[in-house]
């Protein structure tokens, strides 16, 4: 059966699939240096709780993960390992690069004979989170941006079509309270799927 592009059925299924994908990201923690401590702080430790975004199941194995969080400098010797881990992850897979080292080499840009200047030279990246190291709030902001991208991005009709990587930089002159407020607002706003006037709840109601 040929389906029309942008048909009602596909867009609704797309929205549902993307909504569930975005809210159940299982990260593979690839921490190499300082950013790993802040990632630990954000993901599993006392004050912050990444489970609010459905991403608390940190996997040590690439086969069960769909979000690769690269936290820390990647050097030439590690590059092949990173690529291999990425290739072992099942589709759909997303990559989040945290810290300035993974964005462009950070403080090790000049005169370094080993540091890779940005991991997008090795693997495709979806979200960059700046900071040296980024605060846990910055990591959450990056995660929310990624969730938004997933919800709006890929479709069943065109699988694998991805947007260009974005920089999830916190706007300047923003205080911690602003970030927390924005995260809270985003959580409320993004917890529901918005398709053209049809919410997933109504689909189920109609079917019943």
């Amino acid at each position: 059966m040929a389906v029309e592009e942008n048909s009602f059925l596909l867009t609704t299924v797309d929205a549902l699939v993307n909504w569930s994908r975005a809210n159940s990201l299982w990260p593979l923690a690839f921490g190499t240096s300082c950013c790993a401590i802040e990632m630990m702080m954000a993901s599993t430790a006392a004050r912050h709780d990444i489970a609010r975004f459905g991403a608390e199941v940190v996997r040590p194995s690439p086969r069960q993960a769909d979000l690769l969080i690269v936290a820390g400098t990647i050097v030439k010797r590690m590059a092949s390992r990173l690529k291999r881990l990425y290739e072992q992850m099942p589709e759909p897979r997303y990559v989040m690069a945290t810290g300035s080292c993974t964005i462009a080499g950070g403080p090790f840009y000049y005169n370094s004979y080993t540091t890779v200047r940005g991991i997008d030279e090795i693997i495709p990246v979806d979200v960059f989170v700046p900071g040296c190291p980024p605060r846990p709030e910055g990591l959450f902001y990056g995660l929310l941006v990624l969730q938004r991208m997933i919800k709006e991005g890929e479709s069943v009709a065109q699988p694998g079509v991805r947007r260009k990587p974005v920089m999830a930089a916190l706007p300047p002159a923003m205080t911690l309270k602003d970030i927390q407020k924005e995260i809270a607002a985003l959580l409320v706003e993004r917890s529901e799927v918005k398709t053209r006037g049809v919410s997933p709840n109504r689909i189920w109601e109609e079917r019943a």
Binding site: P60, P107, Y113
Partner: protein, 382 residues
Amino acid sequence: MIEVGSLKARMESTPGGLKTEEYFVNMGPQHPSTHGVLRLVLKMDGETVREVIPVLGYIHRSIEKIAEHLNGRQIVHLTDRMDYLSSAMNNWAVSLAVEEALQIELNPRIETIRTIVAELERIQSHLLWWGVLGIDLGAVTTFFYGFRDREMITDILEETTGARLTLNYIQPGGLMFDIHPHFVKRVKEVLAHLKIKICEYETLLSENVILQNRLRNVGILTSEKAISMGSTGPVLRGSGVALDLRKQKPYGVYGSVEFDVPVGSVGDSWDRYWVRVEEIRQSMRIIEQLIDNIPEGKFMVMKPAKKLTLPKKSYFGQVETARGILGVYIQGCEKEEPHRVHFRSPNFNNLWVITQIAPGGKMADLVATLSTLDLVIPDIDR
């Protein structure tokens, strides 16, 4: 007396004997319990470790080469990223070497604040180690407690320095900023909180039978071996050698405060554990003596625009970080950029201890031993 045989002896007496085959297991470079990107190639016989071959270089960022192109002030920010859990102490080591080269005299205010910040860092580093040790041995609760209290200290440091982890606070000639007006009040609050909590943690983890069994008589490092391997810090003190630069060669205001150097007796993992927990208490004692009387004065004695031209001489600045002695060797050559910078990192020497104490033990004990050595891999590789 009739000797009773065993199954093993019976099996060995069969023609050809009992053969066990040794094999290699690759642990790392991306492994949760190696605390970073350390790779260990293990020669195993069943569950028993026969040989440990550490493979390094997975985070070798060529800091020493980069430092040859920067001036004395700029090198400091690279050291933050080496041993990121004791970044203030790392900054201090470079500052000591540069100050010795330029013969800069500091005022008591700078020295006192440096000491307090370094001790706060030491506490948060040991708290993180404590939490992660629990998770390595299967106790998840400690992780939450350790990080909760560590976060309080990070908040204080953030107020003053603007950074949570990579402080970049101690600079040649003084400090980056003055302390925050709330600094003294909040440090006192945290100390009062920690004092109660440390006792609670002792009952929670230290008195736990499982932890005692996992750590006692595991990974014994004798004092002779520890000295010949050049290990320092809690690893050496756990083996019963009281080498602490804060006592031996006091820098900052360590000479005028009272504190004890805890030492172990056997040198097993438990001693290293106990030494670190005790060090948290001693650090609190040091801060308590200093926090009420921080002298008045400038926080920077040098003009920021001053050129740091290093004379053609070599300087060795050393401090006691949370993991041992960090030495910074700077060779100047009448220019702003040094001719050579070398970091004597405490973790480098502490790592190789594992090749001496792990063989003969079980695989699970290797994890416990690694955890009590408290390695930070970017500091080894630099």
